[in-house]
Amino acid sequence: MQRTTMDLWVGLFVLVGIGALMILSLKVGNLNAYSMAQTYTITGNFENIGGLKVRAPVKSSGVVVGRVSNIQFSTKTYDAVVTMNMDSRYQFPKDTFASILTAGLLGEQYIGLSVGGDERMLAEGDNIMKTNSAMVLEEMIGRFLFDKAAEEEAF
């Protein structure tokens, strides 16, 4: 085998190996700055996001129209600020209703958009005014037990 051919193969091998490590880090791991082709950003404040994760889908009528790009806690309003990257092909009215829903009983959580009737559309940097928090199982059970107890006391 020629020295130069061998060098070429080894060079390729090392490059591909390092490339694989990069893919693992960036694509599989969460060292990632994701961006869609053409997007605009909107935010929404949620009282409780439950198990919502960054990169979870934003759906309307079951169609994926965007992705969650960032989740932060705001110390001004004391709730979660969720930033969404929306596909520019889809425009939504200002009074669109955003709620955190769960796919199936144990599935992943996503943001569902219910379209409103406003004539003005959401634009880059806008905030969705109407939000609905995630259902948290413990809270639901807690509320259920509390109601039960209250009912019994009433008797």
Partner: protein
């Protein structure tokens, strides 16, 4: 009767002493290899040559196996997860299994049988045909010239091959679940990226594969160098390399996992 018992006890003692001797010899040899690595690290073309034989020639088996392992993981994971309506978690399953365990371990097992056995056979044959003695008589240290480059090439290739295995596995899982079955690509990736942690999973997997690389090549070069200079000797040493490295990989994997993922859910 008493004689038989004594003979059996002697046999046990003999085996223990023999193993300790071998272990001691192997450790001494390992340290010698490290001490004599200067030459081959200065003349890196020696290592590049061996990288070709250990790394590049192992590519095919690693890539193909990785792809299939990932596809099977995706299929099996989907079958099980869809019963609970959480088939979108299949990405997490595939990626975590690959990055933490299967990537480093399976690629190390393949590497031991593909490259480790080749290293042992090559060094053993060089010894059997007096090439190592000839080198010594030419005032060239065979450990520095023959053993050390092979050792370092193995240590360098192993983590790279493990990374390729994992990437191919994830791709295989993606192919089966997203492309063939139709799980949402976004939730496949998002769940995966949500669950796979760079530091805990990817770095730890990388560290594992580095350990495996050192262990496999150290065993392979020692068995080759220690092989009796006959045909049976070399074939026996080659078998021992594969068996010993496989056991060491699995044992080491348990120890490393216990250290790395203690207290991390």
């Amino acid at each position: 009767m008493l004689n038989r018992i004594v003979a059996n006890i002697q046999d046990i003692g003999h085996r223990v002493i023999d193993s300790v001797w071998r272990l001691g010899n192997a450790s001494r040899f390992f340290i010698l290899v490290l001490l004599k690595s200067g030459t081959c690290l200065r003349r890196f073309s020696l290592v590049i040559r061996e990288l070709y034989y250990t790394g590049v020639l192992s590519l095919i088996i690693i890539i193909v196996s990785g792809l299939f392992v990932g596809m099977v993981l995706g299929l099996q994971g989907y079958e099980t997860l869809q019963k609970y309506g959480s088939e979108s978690a299949v990405g997490t399953l595939v990626a975590l299994s690959l990055v933490r365990e299967l990537g480093p371990v399976v690629s190390a097992l393949l590497f031991a049988s593909r490259a480790g056995s080749a290293i042992t056979a090559e060094i053993g044959l060089m010894k059997a045909t007096e090439q190592l003695s000839a080198m010594g008589m030419m005032a060239v240290d065979p450990i520095a010239r023959v053993v050390a480059p092979r050792f370092w090439a193995g240590v360098i290739s192993m983590p790279l091959l493990a990374a390729m295995f994992s990437v191919m596995g994830v791709f295989g899982g993606y192919l089966v679940t997203v492309v063939f079955i139709g799980v949402d690509a976004g939730s496949f990736w998002s769940q995966m990226q949500g669950a796979v942690d760079f530091r805990f999973d990817i770095i730890n997997g990388f560290i594992k594969s580095c350990f495996f690389g050192v262990a496999i090549t150290a065993i392979a070069v020692y068995e080759g160098y220690d092989a009796p200079p006959t045909a049976e000797g070399v074939s026996g040493a080659t078998t021992r390399t594969v068996v010993t490295s496989s056991l060491v990989i699995l044992g080491l994997d348990f120890i490393l996992t216990a250290f790395m993922f203690r207290g991390i859910s």
